[in-house]
C-alpha cells in the first residue's frame, strides 16, 4: 500500500476558534492525507509530544488570538528537540503580514492567512514533504 502523508492539525494556546483548523483538517483528509486533530488548548509540549507519538510528517498549527509570535516558535523548537528534523511545520490564522518573516526565521516553513484556499495548503504539503 502506498504510504500516506501524516499531518497533525494543532491548536496551540487558549484560542477557541477552530473553524479554520477543522475545515483544513477535513480538506487534508479528503486530499488523501492521514489527519490527526489535537483539539483545543494544547501547550507546545503537548503538540510536540503528539507529533512524535503519531509520527507525523507535517505539523499544521492554527492561531487566531495573536499569540502566534510566542507559540509557533516554541512548537518548532520542541519538535526539533524531539529529533523530528524533517517534519514540515506550517501555520495559519489571523496573522499580520509583518509578523510572517520572523515566524519563517523561527522555522515555520509557510504561513497561510485568511482567504487561502485549502487546495493551496494541500499543494504546499504535497510539494514539500518527502516520504
Amino acid at each position: 500500500m502506498e504510504k500516506k502523508i501524516r499531518v497533525l492539525v494543532a491548536k496551540p494556546g487558549l484560542d477557541g476558534h477552530d473553524r479554520g483548523a477543522k475545515v483544513v483538517a477535513r480538506a487534508l483528509r479528503d486530499a488523501g492525507f492521514e489527519v490527526i486533530y489535537t483539539g483545543l488548548r494544547q501547550t507546545p509540549e503537548q503538540i510536540a509530544e503528539a507529533a512524535l507519538q503519531e509520527d507525523v510528517n507535517v505539523v499544521a498549527m492554527s492561531i487566531l488570538s495573536g499569540a502566534h509570535g510566542h507559540l509557533f516558535p516554541k512548537v518548532v523548537d520542541l519538535v526539533r528537540k524531539n529529533g523530528m528534523t524533517d517534519a514540515l511545520i506550517i501555520g495559519g490564522g489571523v496573522i499580520p503580514e509583518g509578523d510572517i518573516p520572523a515566524l519563517k526565521e523561527a522555522g515555520v516553513s509557510a504561513v497561510f492567512t485568511p482567504g487561502t484556499p485549502t487546495s493551496e495548503v494541500v499543494k504546499y504539503i504535497n510539494e514539500n514533504v518527502k516520504l
Binding site: Y37, A67, P96
Partner: protein
Amino acid sequence: MSNEKIQAELEKYEASVEKAIARFPEREHLPEKRLYTPLDIKDTDYADELSFPGVYPYTRGVQPTMYRGRFWTMRMYAGFSTAEESNKRYRMLIENGATGLSCAFDLPTQIGYDSTDPISEGEVGKVGVAIDSLADMETLFDQIDLGKVSTSMTINAPASVLLAMYIAVAEKQGVPADQLRGTIQNDILKEYAARGTYIFPPRPSMRLITNIFEYCSKNVPKWNTISISGYHIREAGSTAAQEIAFTIADGIAYCEAAIKAGLKIDDFAGRLSFFWNAHNNVLEEVAKFRASRRIWAKVMKERFHAQSDKSMKLRFHTQTAGSMLTAQQPNNNIVRVALQTAAAVMGGTQSLHTNSRDEALALPTQESVTIALRTQQIVAYESGLADVIDPLAGSYYVEAMTNKIEAEAWDYIKKIDDLGGAVAAIEKGYIQKEIQDSAYKWQMDVESGARTIVGVNKFQMEEEPPKGLLKVDEAVGERQKAKVEAMKAKRDNEAVKAALADLKKACQDENENLMPHILAAVKTYATLGEICNVMREVFGEYEAHVSL
C-alpha cells in the same frame, strides 16, 4: 386577484422565462424560487403569525414604537492590553456617541487563569483586556459612571466572578446594584459547541448560571443575566436556521435547569437576552431575526407556560459577521458591514456592534473603529431604514423566508429534544458535527467558485500589505504580571484565604447559591485564577468531544 387567477398567471410567467434562462443560466445559491407571490404566504395568518409590534408573537418587533423614539444601543465591543489602555478606548467611544460599553477580555481571563499562570504566556492582553482582580476592574471603569452606562461583558465560564467584580466596583462608586444595567454573556453551552472558552463540565456550569439568575432576580434586577448566543455558532460555520435553532435549544436547556432548581419562569425569563450574527445575505438575515422572535415567543408560551409578556419577548444584541470580513482589500469590509447593519436594523435589533474593516488582520485601530461606529449612525440618521417599524413585513419573499427558517429551526429543535436536549446533543457531538458540515460546505463552495467572495475568489488584485495595524505591546504580559504580584503583596492574604475556604465549602453544597460567596471573595482582592481554581478543585474540568 383571486389565488386561482394568480396561480394561472404564475404558470404563464414560469413558462415565459425559459427562453431567458436558456440565454442566461441562473446562478447557484439562489433562493429556491425566482419570484414570490401572494400564494407563498396565503396560509400566514396576520393575527397569529405577525400581529403588531410589542404584541405576541412579536414577529414585528418587541417594542411598540421600535426606533421611532429611541435607536438601538450602539455598543462597540472593545478591550485590549491593560485595563488602563482599555479604559482610554471606552472613554473615547463614549465621547464619540457610543451609548453602551462592551468589554472584550483576553483569553486567560475568559478561561479563569491569572496573567501569572504559565498557561497564559503569550496570550495576556491579546484579544481583550486582562483582568486579574478587582484592582484591574476598578481601573477599567475609572471615571465611567456605572449608574449611567450600560455594560455588556463577553464572559462565560467565569461570568459569576466578573459580574461580582462589576458589582463591587459600582459599590465603591456609590452605585447600588439594583441600578446597574448591562449584560453578561454567561452562555456556556455555545462554548462547548462553538466558541471554546469553557472551564467546568456542564452540570456545575449550569448550576453557576442558575445561581446568577436567582441572585440577580433579587439583587440586580435590571441586569441581563445571560446572552444566549447564536453569534459564535454562525461564526463557526452554521447556516441561518441552525444559528437560531441551536441557540433556542440552548435557551430551552437554561430554562429547564432554572426551573429544576426551583425558579419560576416569569421570575427570570424576562432577563434572558439573545445575541445574533448579522451575516451577508440581507433579506435572509431579516427573516432570521423575525423568525427567532416568533419561535421564542411560542416556546415561552406553549412549552414553559410563561404568563408575563416580558418572558415571551426575544430581545437581542447583534454583531456583524466577523467571519465574513476579508483580509483582501480590507476597505471593502466597510461596505459589507454597512449591509449587515441594514439587516440588523430592519430585523429589529436592540443593540449592535459593527466590526471594523481591519479585523481579519488584527485588532482594529481607533480610526477603523470610528468608521464602524459612524456606519451605525449613518444607517440610523440618514438611511431611513429605522423610520418605520419592521419595514419588510408583507414582502412575499421575506414573509415566506421567515416561515421557512422558522420551520427548519423547529425541525432541529425537535431533533435536539429527541436526543435529550441541548446538553445531551452537545455531549454526543451532534451540534458540533452539524456546524462543521455547514462550514466545510461553505468553504468548498468558495473554492469551487459556486459562491463568490469579492476580492477573495473573484475581482482579486495585487495589494500592498496593509499598514498601521494595531499591535498589542508584547511587554503587556510582563507589566500585568508585575501588577498582580504588587497587588498580592498589598492585600490582606488571611482574608483572601478565609474567603476562598468559604467559597470551597459553598461549592460543595449544591443547594448553596455561590454568588454571595464569590462577591465576598472578589472584595478581598482574591484573583480570578484563585477563585476559578477553587471551583476547578470541586467541579473538575470539561473534556471536549473532538471529532472531524
